[in-house]
């Protein structure tokens, strides 16, 4: 029995965060109530605003509250070089490595027929349109080096077999079976510079 229903509710609500179990949720709740109500208030407002306003970029499908994300709208990026990633977290990791100056396209997942995720859900036709209409010169595929990521990469490469665009894939310098978002910047730099042109089978 705890002292208050609202505290129980807040502890339960913290469980929606990844990696947060009952003990951590309780610790977070009491920490905020005891020591940082201002921070809790800011967190509440930031969550509300993000949920209400953050949608997807018209061009690259990443998260943004504008029509175009900061990267797509930037004049200092090479719009002819497009990197395809599975999730916005991958963009964060690549941007932190500082190794890539082109634009992105976010699939928001990978091919997974068992979960009902096919080419439409990944926006592949939007990617094909983008490559054609914007005269993209090179498409760098940076899907995760997992079975599903490999399948997705080959499927995308297949779509551009006849098109006038180089399709490459970042080198497998990144640990196989891992998640791109947790790779360090140095490994990512190697992976970008060691990329290979994909041969369609």
């Amino acid at each position: 029995m705890n002292s208050s229903p609202l505290i129980d509710q807040l502890i339960e609500a913290f469980r929606c965060l990844p990696g947060v179990g009952p003990k951590s949720a309780q610790r977070m709740t009491l920490h905020l109530l005891e020591r940082n109500r201002e921070g809790a208030n800011k967190l509440s407002k930031a969550l509300e605003e993000a949920i209400e306003h953050v949608g997807n970029c018209r061009e690259c499908r990443t998260f943004t509250e504008e029509e175009l994300c900061r990267i797509c709208a930037s004049h200092s990026r090479n719009q002819k070089l497009c990197c395809v990633v599975e999730s916005p977290a991958d963009i964060f990791a690549i941007e932190q490595s500082g190794t890539f100056r082109g634009v992105y396209f976010v699939l928001m997942g990978h091919l997974s027929p068992i979960d009902g995720i096919g080419p439409e859900q990944l926006g592949i036709s939007q990617l094909v349109d983008k490559v054609q209409s914007q005269d993209i010169e090179e498409l760098i595929i940076a899907c995760n080096p997992t079975v599903e990521g490999d399948a997705t990469a080959y499927y995308i490469a297949e779509q551009f077999r006849e098109a006038n665009v180089v399709v490459s894939r970042i080198a497998h310098g990144v640990p196989v079976g891992g998640e791109l978002e947790f790779v360090d910047g140095g490994t990512l730099s190697h992976a970008f510079s060691g990329r290979k042109v994909m041969e369609s089978s």
Copy 2:
């Protein structure tokens, strides 16, 4: 450069949580946006409600949105037996061990002159009033077994030297130097049953 100011703001806001660094904050943000916007919404509302409504219990000073917390208002608790703890988190830990059926008094800290925390900040006079007006028979002191907790325990025992109340302290079965809130229920049970009457010096 990330894709959106609102996302940056939310990542920064998550940093107010204990044990959450930049990587975890980013992971939490993207997880909620990608997979659990409903959970994020609930978390935002739960935070707002808790901050707005949760105050302190009139009797025991723990967190509650009512005038009296659930424990102080309960008829099934022994109101003559009062356990003094440093923080509401300690109440959670003791309640989970299921070993104690009395009521609590929360100091919300420990004596720490260097931080300006003296007897007034800990509500010692309120505790003295409570013991007298409610004819409390035993006061079990469950301050953390740290230097400051020990000092606080002795200070409280001293206040009741002339009073008609037994002052005891939970046994040092709990690891010395640790924090009460992380102790397992079994150790806490031993500590409660092995408590010793405090001799005033």
